[in-house]
């Protein structure tokens, strides 16, 4: 089996797990957000590579005569791309909300390091 034939899928797996790892282990909130963004992008890469085709072009048919059948092997599937446009928009909005929350946390605690923030919340409870 040729491992390189599934190069895109390996990249998806690597990026997804890398993003997840960053979300779990990073101590800085911005690093967590970057991890989240990488994780979402890996899913987008997965969909786009589903529709990738060698020597294919966009499925716009210029002149249709009734006799020549349309050659599907040279047309790329447009649906995954259309879906991913929506998913990119969703990802951007999620990123926006996450950044707003991070800024708001920074304004409250003057820090973006998670252990420091947790210490400050504990102090607020006891003091």
């Amino acid at each position: 089996m040729n491992l390189m034939a599934f190069f895109n899928n390996w990249a998806v797996i690597f990026l997804f797990l890398f993003g997840l790892f960053a979300m779990i282990t990073a101590r800085n909130l911005f690093r967590k957000i970057i991890g989240m963004s990488i994780l979402q992008t890996s899913v987008i890469l997965f969909y786009v590579s589903l529709a990738a085709k060698h020597e294919a072009h966009i499925p716009i048919i210029h002149h249709v005569s009734g006799h020549t059948p349309i050659d599907l092997t040279h047309l790329a599937n447009p649906l995954p791309h259309a879906l991913m446009l929506t998913a990119i928009v969703v990802g951007v909005s999620t990123l926006g909300v996450a950044l707003v929350l991070a800024v708001s946390i920074y304004q409250n605690y003057q820090s973006l390091e998670e252990p420091e923030i947790l210490n400050k919340t504990k102090e607020a409870h006891h003091g």
Partner: protein, 488 residues
């Protein structure tokens, strides 16, 4: 003709209400809460009409007139009508009851608060109605994003941290779901639920199809707060503002439960087709662990809303358990429990909001301040806790009873013990509240800070509704058995 538009009308009513809000706020800021409530009441009336319509048959609405397998289709059947009626009715009641408290707690942000509320409900209706798997993802994110904003609505940093965690975990859940949809799309070439249900049985042996199924289910398990994925719930429910917790806590996880039921039984047709993949057994197991662990964690909490959050985890475990038994009675019981648990949690969170504003009670040890003071509140505490424990004729008893019946009819009747054990454990943590508010020495010098008649009325009315809901339960149950679950 209007009938065919009902699925989209249910979505458009809150959404159009949301678009009117900024204009209304410019001219008459005091009416934003009332307008939100009015929109949701109208939507709830349409949902009731939808429930009557769905009895006589499905209503399919195709977006932009593109026919079903290619275009996006919204379907109103008796299951989606049932769940959307529960969601809209409860959110309308909450919208009325929180008006004075939003003015008191969140008056500066009330426009964005109400806009997020209506957007959240529109997103939920989209999730419930849609028959397209990718469309479902979009609405999951629409409702989640407004949910994060609502969780962050309280002043101070803690609610922001809770919301940030909720956002990270929720995004992971949605991404897992999207990845799973990608696997199924690659194998079947369709995103329409009916179409996919037809094509899946032939290719279930493929490893990539199974991986897709597992990814989708774990995505929704995160959104529904099922046991190993429940970490976001306690903070999100207890650190946020009181009105926001009344909105988020009763309904947000229930819609994810519905989505899980929809894809498990309508798209994958689990009991008949997937006997080799033990998804249902795993759901039962995590349900049992959640029931026990959630109750124990609820018992050791000191904060009232945090205790309610852990109690939610335990009751969601009960729903997962009912789904996982894969048996018609238990599934109907789980659907009934989705409605009943939402009603009970709404009652308890409204109560938490009232007593915090009136007597400053947020910890369980402070409940003794209530003794001999607030007769209606004390009655509601009794009604709601007895209903959560499962004492007849209150609502909580019947849903547990039907899940128990289902467990006894299933392959492992031993599981029935779990339900009885669950009731005992709920009794354990709810008796702490009853003990504090009835058997502790009377506290003198307690003053009532902020009293809202509307708040008191809504708390006691929802408490008494639990009795009515309990008495109506057998009838609702037989309706569920004959309508949404008729095909089993």
């Amino acid at each position: 003709m209007v009938e065919s538009l009902v699925p989209i009308l249910l979505f458009l009513t809150p959404f159009m209400g949301l678009l009117v809000l900024p204009v209304l706020y410019k001219f008459k800021p005091s009416l934003t809460g009332a307008w939100t409530a009015l929109t949701l009441i109208i939507a709830a009336c349409i949902a009731f009409k939808a429930l009557c319509l769905a009895d006589s048959g499905m209503i399919r609405y195709t977006m932009g007139g593109w026919a079903a397998p290619f275009g996006i289709e919204w379907v109103l059947d008796s299951l989606s009508a049932f769940i959307s009626f529960i969601i809209l009715l409860l959110s309308a009641i909450v919208a009325i009851s929180i008006i004075p408290y939003v003015n008191r707690e969140l008056s500066k942000v009330q426009l964005t608060f109400h806009m997020c509320y209506l957007l959240l409900i529109s997103g939920f209706i989209g999730m419930i109605m849609t028959h397209d798997l990718f469309n479902m993802y979009v609405f999951v994110e629409v409702s989640s994003l407004s949910g994060y904003a609502l969780v962050a609505s309280s002043r101070g940093g803690e609610s922001k941290i809770a919301s940030f965690r909720y956002l990270l975990i929720g995004t992971l859940g949605a991404s897992l779901y999207l990845l799973g949809v990608g696997f199924l799309y690659a194998n079947t070439g369709t995103l329409n639920m009916t179409d996919m249900a037809e094509r899946l049985p032939a290719i279930l042996e493929l490893r990539s199809v199974r991986l897709g199924i597992i990814l989708m289910i774990s995505g929704f398990a995160i959104k529904a707060g099922f046991f190993p994925f429940h970490g976001w719930m306690p903070d999100a429910y207890s650190k946020t503002s009181y009105p926001a917790s009344c909105i988020i806590a009763p309904i947000s996880t229930k819609v994810a439960c519905y989505a899980l039921i929809r894809i498990l039984f309508w798209v994958f047709q689990i009991p008949t087709t997937l006997s080799q993949l033990p998804i249902l057994d795993i759901l039962t197991m995590i349900g049992i662990v959640a029931i026990v662990a959630g109750s124990i964690m609820a018992f050791i909490q000191t904060d009232f809303r945090r205790m309610l959050a852990y109690s939610s985890i335990s009751h969601l475990g009960l729903i997962a358990f009912g789904i996982g038994l894969g048996e018609k009675t238990a599934l109907a019981g789980a659907l009934l429990h989705i409605g009943h648990h939402a009603a009970m949690k709404m009652c308890l969170f409204l109560l938490a909001m009232y007593i915090f504003h009136a007597y400053g009670i947020s910890k369980i040890s402070q409940f003794s301040r209530l003794r001999g003071r607030a007769p209606w509140i004390l009655t509601t505490i009794i009604l709601a806790s007895f209903s959560m424990i499962g004492i007849p004729p209150l609502a909580g008893f019947f849903s547990k009873w039907y899940i128990l019946l289902g467990a006894l009819q299933s392959a492992q009747p031993v599981y029935g013990i779990v339900i009885i054990f669950a009731s005992l454990l709920s009794a354990l943590y709810f008796f702490r509240i009853i003990e504090q508010s009835f058997f502790k020495p009377k506290v003198t010098d307690v003053t009532r800070n902020y009293h809202s008649r509307l708040g008191l009325l809504s708390v006691s009315l929802t408490g008494f509704c639990l009795i009515a809901l309990g008495i109506l339960s057998p009838w609702i149950f037989s309706w569920i058995m004959h309508n949404p679950l008729a095909g089993f």
